[in-house]
């Protein structure tokens, strides 16, 4: 076979691979959306799930997903951002720094179910939080920290050195420079990364299985007192999130409309994740335009 023919064949195979990849995305999305969107109605989004009967909705699960996400972000962002600042600004090359880097790497590549088991051991049993919003959020914090650390470090490293030197030349202390000059300048790129990681946290299920639990008490959406047991804001009640719900319905659901609920929930989940993704993308573009001055 002449090398030209081989070339042609090989390149066609490569293009085919890319087409397969794009095809997978298109068919996945269209399958989920076509199957699911017809099931989404206002009623589906605003009724509680029913364990036996048909016609259950996902109101509580949807709320739990967002609530766990928000608590996770409140816990993760300060710790993750300052961890990133440490690596970008304070860390001196040496054993300790490389050890911290290894730790971040390890945290990033742990299977999420291992994080869930750790959460069950520590937060659920040892601290006695039971299956609760707070246990779930703490486990997800472990899961999400390395992402935020990395995003922050990259954001700080992308800044030009002039900004830091300018601050220091004005006689500001290092911390003051970071707080008032570098952090605001790096903020947009950090925010983009945070939104992307929010999509990941929103869809996470294995880490929540053993920490946030598989059930939700009867939530009373007119009771916003965070201490009362059926309040949506209560941190110490169990909370089944949307992605856990999809899994639970498919493995042990006995209601007659399992596939309707699963497909509808999957569509809602995917739409939310897509929105996070699009939002982060639009933000990134806007910032890029602002900084390049076009």
């Amino acid at each position: 076979m002449s090398s030209k023919v081989t070339n042609r064949i090989a390149l066609s195979v490569i293009i085919l691979c890319a087409a397969v990849m794009a095809g997978i995305l298109v068919s996945l999305l269209s399958y989920i959306l076509f199957k699911g969107v017809t099931n989404i109605s206002w009623q589906f989004l605003t009724t509680s799930a029913s364990p036996f009967l048909a016609g259950g909705g996902i109101k509580d699960q949807l709320w739990n997903s967002f609530y766990v996400l928000i608590i996770t972000m409140i816990l993760t962002i300060p710790i993750g951002v300052s961890g990133g600042i440490y690596l970008a600004e304070y860390a001196k090359p040496g054993r300790l720094t490389s050890f911290i880097r290894t730790c971040v790497e390890v945290l990033a590549s742990l299977p999420s179910i291992v994080v869930g088991m750790f959460g069950m051991l520590i937060f659920v049993n040892y601290f006695g939080f039971r299956f609760s919003v707070i246990s779930g959020a703490l486990a997800l914090t472990v899961f999400n920290l390395p992402v935020i650390v990395r995003v922050t470090e990259d954001g700080f490293r992308a800044l030009s050195l002039h900004q830091k030197e300018g601050g220091l030349a004005l006689g500001l202390t290092h911390w003051h420079t970071i707080k008032t000059i570098l952090l605001p300048a790096a903020f947009p790129s950090i925010l983009t990364g945070i939104i992307l990681s929010a999509g990941r946290v929103f869809g996470e299920s294995a880490a929540l299985l053993f920490t946030a639990g598989l059930s939700t008490p009867d939530l009373n959406f007119s009771n916003w007192n965070p201490i009362s047991p059926n309040s949506p804001l209560n941190l110490f009640r169990s909370a089944e999130t949307l992605s856990v719900h999809i899994w639970a319905v498919n493995t042990g659901g006995i209601m007659p409309d399992v596939s309707r609920i699963a497909n509808g929930s999957a569509a809602v989940l995917v739409v939310c994740v897509l929105l996070f993704n699009l939002f982060a993308r639009a933000l990134g573009k806007m910032i890029n335009q602002k900084f390049s001055g076009k």
């Binding site: 090398s3 691979c17 999305l29 600042i85 390890v106 869809g203 299920s205």
Partner: protein
């Protein structure tokens, strides 16, 4: 404290004291400012330390809990690892042989890598070599969206498309090892592709130009020059994908069939380390032998993910050297 005492004791020199107070206040402000410097530094350093604490705590606690099965319940480590009989519920002589799960995890991981690697590397070459404009405009967003799709959704798709397909064409229930591997393979595709594309982009252009200059075709350049040059980073991409496949739990659990026997072929239902943990953890009481055995499996999972990390580190060190 001292100032206030003076101020109340001697009202005649109040004006003087006021000036002193202001001066004192200025000092105070600077003091708090310095405190803010220390405070900020403290917070930053403690956050960094928290990463170390988290890793050590995870390893330590899982290890303590994972070794209980051998230390407290006196299971034999060797029969635990190599035994093929998993009958924890048997009242007479319950047996804990975890080999089917270890085998299942390995099989799913390797099959998934086998499915994902050609397509992912092909896509990476397409993005980085053939059509750079299309690559960044179309394929990059495609990959990013695919990475973002939650794993349960992949599991659901597997359950509603792949499992019925298997049932029709290969008989049985349709829940089998291959279905699990396909679902995970598709799941790790975008991860492998995007890292592979990065490593191909990192190959210096001079190599390509040299290859074209001696009359090589595009494919010859890719096959003989670019891929060997990107070598170990491509392997890193695949290993990273495998470590993700190894740790995936719910998506696999939904399609693999969850049978605790050793599978005879890839069309038999089976189980993996992660699936047995997700399934049995909820039903077992804390401190029972079954529960301890599950924690041991969890610890094993942690150890194997450490092995993956070490391999990845080794590969990237070789690349840097």
């Amino acid at each position: 404290m001292k100032i206030s005492k003076i101020a109340t004791a001697d009202p005649a020199s109040r004006l003087d004291n006021n000036a002193k107070l202001i001066n004192e206040k200025g000092l105070l402000w600077r003091l708090t400012d310095r405190a803010s410097e220390t405070r900020g530094k403290m917070f930053i350093y403690s956050s960094a330390l928290l990463m170390i604490v988290a890793v050590i705590a995870i390893t330590l606690f899982l290890m303590i809990q994972g070794l209980r099965a051998f230390v407290v319940d006196h299971l034999n480590f060797w029969t635990f690892i190599t035994g093929t009989q998993w009958y924890p519920d048997r009242t007479v002589n319950p047996s804990y042989g975890a080999f089917p799960f270890i085998f299942g995890s390995m099989a799913v991981t390797f099959l998934a890598a086998l499915i994902a690697t050609p397509i992912a590397i092909g896509t990476a070459i397409f993005m980085a070599e053939l059509a750079k404009k299309w690559g960044t405009k179309v394929m990059q967003p495609v990959i990013e969206i695919l990475v973002g799709i939650p794993s349960v959704v992949y599991g659901l798709i597997g359950l509603s498309i792949i499992v019925p397909f298997m049932r029709q064409h290969f008989g049985g229930s349709g829940f089998n090892l291959l279905a699990g591997a396909i679902v995970v393979g598709i799941m790790i595709l975008p991860t492998v592709a995007s890292i592979a594309a990065d490593s191909i982009r990192a190959v210096p252009d001079s190599l390509r130009q040299a290859s074209y200059a001696i009359g090589a075709t595009k494919w010859q350049t890719i096959w003989r020059v670019v891929i060997p040059a990107a070598g170990s980073s491509l392997v890193t991409a695949i290993v990273l994908g495998m470590s993700r496949a190894f740790g995936e739990a719910l998506a696999v659990q939904m399609v693999i069939g969850n049978v605790t026997k050793l599978p005879g072929s890839i069309f038999d239902p089976s189980a993996t380390l992660t699936t047995i943990i997700t399934l049995s953890m909820g039903h077992s009481t804390m401190g029972s032998v079954l529960n301890d055995a599950l924690w041991s499996l969890g610890f094993l999972l942690l150890l194997i993910s450490y092995v993956f990390i070490v391999i990845i580190r080794f590969l990237s060190r070789r690349r840097n050297a």
